[in-house]
Amino acid sequence: MAQKRVIVVGGGLAGLAAAMKLAEDNVAVDLFSLVPVKRSHSVCAQGGINACNEVARQQGYSEWEHFYETLKGGDFLANQPPVLDMARMAPNVIDLLDRMGVPFNRTSEGYRALRLFGGSLFKRTHYAGATTGQQLLYALDEQCRRWEVEGRITKYEFWDFLWPVLDDSGRCVGIVAQDLRTMQIRSFRADAVVMATGGNGLIFGQSTMSVICTGSASARCYAAGAWLGNPEFVQVHPTAIPGEDKCRLMSESARGEGGRIWVPKKKGDSRQPNSIPEEERDYFLERLYPKYKNIVPRDIATREIFYICEQGFGVGNGQMVYLDLTEKSTGIKYEELKKKLGGILEIYEKFVGVDPLLEPMRIYPAVHYSMGGLWVGFEKDSKPFEADGKGGVGGGMKHGSPKNQMTNVPGLYAAGEADYQYHGANRLGANSLLSCIFTGLFMGPSVKNYIESQKGAAAELPSGIFDARVRDEQGKLQKLLKANGDQNPYVLQRELGKTMSDNVTIIRVNSRMKKTLALIEDLKQRFQTKLGMPDGSTWSNQTVGFARAVWDMMLLSEAITKGAIAREESRGAHFKIPDDKAERIDIPLDARALPRDDHNWLKSTIASYKNGTCELSYEPVDIALAEPVKRDYGKTTGAAAAAAATKPVEEPVAAK
């Protein structure tokens, strides 16, 4: 029988982790990426990677706490067994990265250093300066290069995934892809395909994501029949540097290391921030959340920043607050912060021209992460959960089950930010690097067991189904190249980005989102009938590749918006305000919004593409391990703040 192969699409942390694990297990891998894998978006992650560690453990932390924090951070929308396995395996992931040479910061004795991150009161975040994602990506890139030299991994860089090839029974048996230089379109056979293609920030115009993060690969799988899970959950990161071309992330580690967010108490105070005395500053996160202070989860910090600006307290009356790392405000020495946060401070200095250790940064929230993504399943461990003071045994996923990380399309898998499984309604900081590497490694045996369970090899299938898909894609390309209307694809994307960013991010109001949905419909029409292709070249034509992705972004936008309109509650990053309260800035945001509604809405959204449109259905969330509780981080108002500050830390509920 011909050799069985696996295709991995996407060369960020999840794709590389899957590829190297499969290669180690003797599976031949073809790795596809839009860019040299070393330039994938994982490179942008700054702050760190979470895992229980021995220091935190001795202070009362455990894998169970990490699991519980992740659930609570995600407002209990995530299926619990996969999250439990992620938290359990996290310490092993860190050890492996350590062995692979990641230059984690060290304590003076030479152990791995730890920092504080959002949603936790324990130091459980490992880091390499403020470029942790870059360091992790490089370590995995290096391992894959090793397998490339040994012939187990074949790389296809500068290739665009166009479509999954399904056989007559609906199994995924390969892909169609395009060489972005020669523009050749061809098919590749595989016994399983792993989509590790990241998030979709470009849908919102300027986001913190790389410009390659269009979500197009996921959208194409969706259009071919794969489901999307929880598409409406989009993380808006509280601290980014607004920009014309993109918003640059200012890592949560800036706050974890002592950075403080504030606005002047006086509206429109035009003084230089350094000359505004302490007593005239409102450190509003500290005032409202005396326990977690500046490290409340991202969705919460984002909304508080939005609301303080909505009330007119933003810097210069605009949409901007201060993130202060100066010694005067934090009490931490210049040199110490320089060492810990060098990489991100450099970004601010380079792009704004100011040393953020000498002058407070001006920041505002920006779209950052897609919690939603391709729906993937899992098989539960038949052994029930048993607590052991650490992560417990049983109750997680059945290791090696072919169902783990598989989409509803047999043989089509998803991992990393491209899947929907681990972060529920909101992702905690420093959990994304973990979920990417965890899913990539964990799925290795699952994918291998799947391909071994299938009779025959994809290499032996008749060529008809592959050729037909190639012809489809060639037809679409020709149509795009010949488009001679007046609508520029880049301009269409900007229009889409603006409406999505204005209406489907921090606060969501149905009447506004319905207008957005209508505009998306209009954009789709214009794309199909009036698109103009400003470049007709058949060599290395980036514009045509971008235009193709614009269509995909519209499909995903529709799923995101429809999911958000339908979900009549607030949960994590999804914050719904009824139409009649949209403009009532006299009422605090929390009081304006619909509450979380577990009775009706503790369920995962499934979006499927049928007859050219998005259809929604729902499935229950697996909450077998921990009862959802009210998600509050000790918010207080005014005078109650001082009293609340002395209350003991809320203990996570014990396992059932």
């Binding site: 190297m20 694990k21 180690e24 860019v35 040299p36 070393k38 330039r39 978006h41 490179v43 942008c44 050890d95 492996l96 350590d98 062995r99 692979m100 040479g101 230059p103 984690f104 910061n105 060290r106 304590t107 003076s108 004795e109 030479g110 152990y111 791995r112 390499a128 470029t131 870059q134 360091q135 490089y138 290096e142 391992q143 290069r145 790389s210 410009v211 390659i212 920009g243 014309e244 071309d245 993109k246 640059r248 992330l249 990489g343 970004i347 380079k350 792009f351 704004v352 021209g353 520029n488 880049y490 301009v491 400003p534 470049d535 070249s537 060599w539 290395s540 034509n541 980036q542 514009t543």
Partner: protein
Amino acid sequence: MTAATSGNKAPIVLRIKRQDTPTGEAYWETFSIPYKPNMNITSVLQAIAGNPVTTEGKKTAPLNYDAACLEEVCGSCTMVINGRARQACSALIDHIRAEVGDGPIVIEPMSKFPVVRDLMVDRTRMFENLKRIKGWIPVDGYYNQGHGPKIDPEQQEEMYAMSRCMTCGCCLEACPQFTKDNHFVGAQVISQVKYFNMHPTGDVHADERLEAVMGEGGITDCGNAQNCVKVCPKEIPLVDSIGWVGRKATVYSIKEFFTK
């Protein structure tokens, strides 16, 4: 609030060197884009893409160029801007104007790599060189085997500086010894030899790495111009790396001479 700005809000004029195919003739086009505060070269290229018309009113194709993170950490958007290899994303218009005045900004593809199209070049050679030096830590496998070696903070800091190399190619573009046609490995890969050889597990392949940067096109071809360290956007101490690897290579070759 930015440091050095010219204060000029006149339209931004870009002269861009274009090339349609790897073997095609290069030609120049000029574009004029309205100024906005805090613009960088990337946002100007994006503006052109939305309305690709030259200053002569000629409709043309949007510029082709590599881009991904736009935070100067992926290395993609390296190009030659006013004669200097750098990333388009971190090239701020206000700063450029303050440095060189308000005249047209000249943009070219890097000259040391084959052009793919317009500002896109083929940097495969850099990645192939990483294979040549076995640029990885040879771990036994990916099963759980406990933590890695304990590393003191000074060593971590030294390694971290080198591990930030984003394979952008600035050092090679600036190097007089590195050309399209020769085999000189250049500062990028020499620095990676030091990085991996410093690691306790990476040390297993230390001799093979040294051999890979010895002989033709190896470290002795370095002319010590020290341009590399001046242009490195990540301020990697490349000259120190070259010195370190040079000394190790010398010791290694003496050892080899006496043991063979």
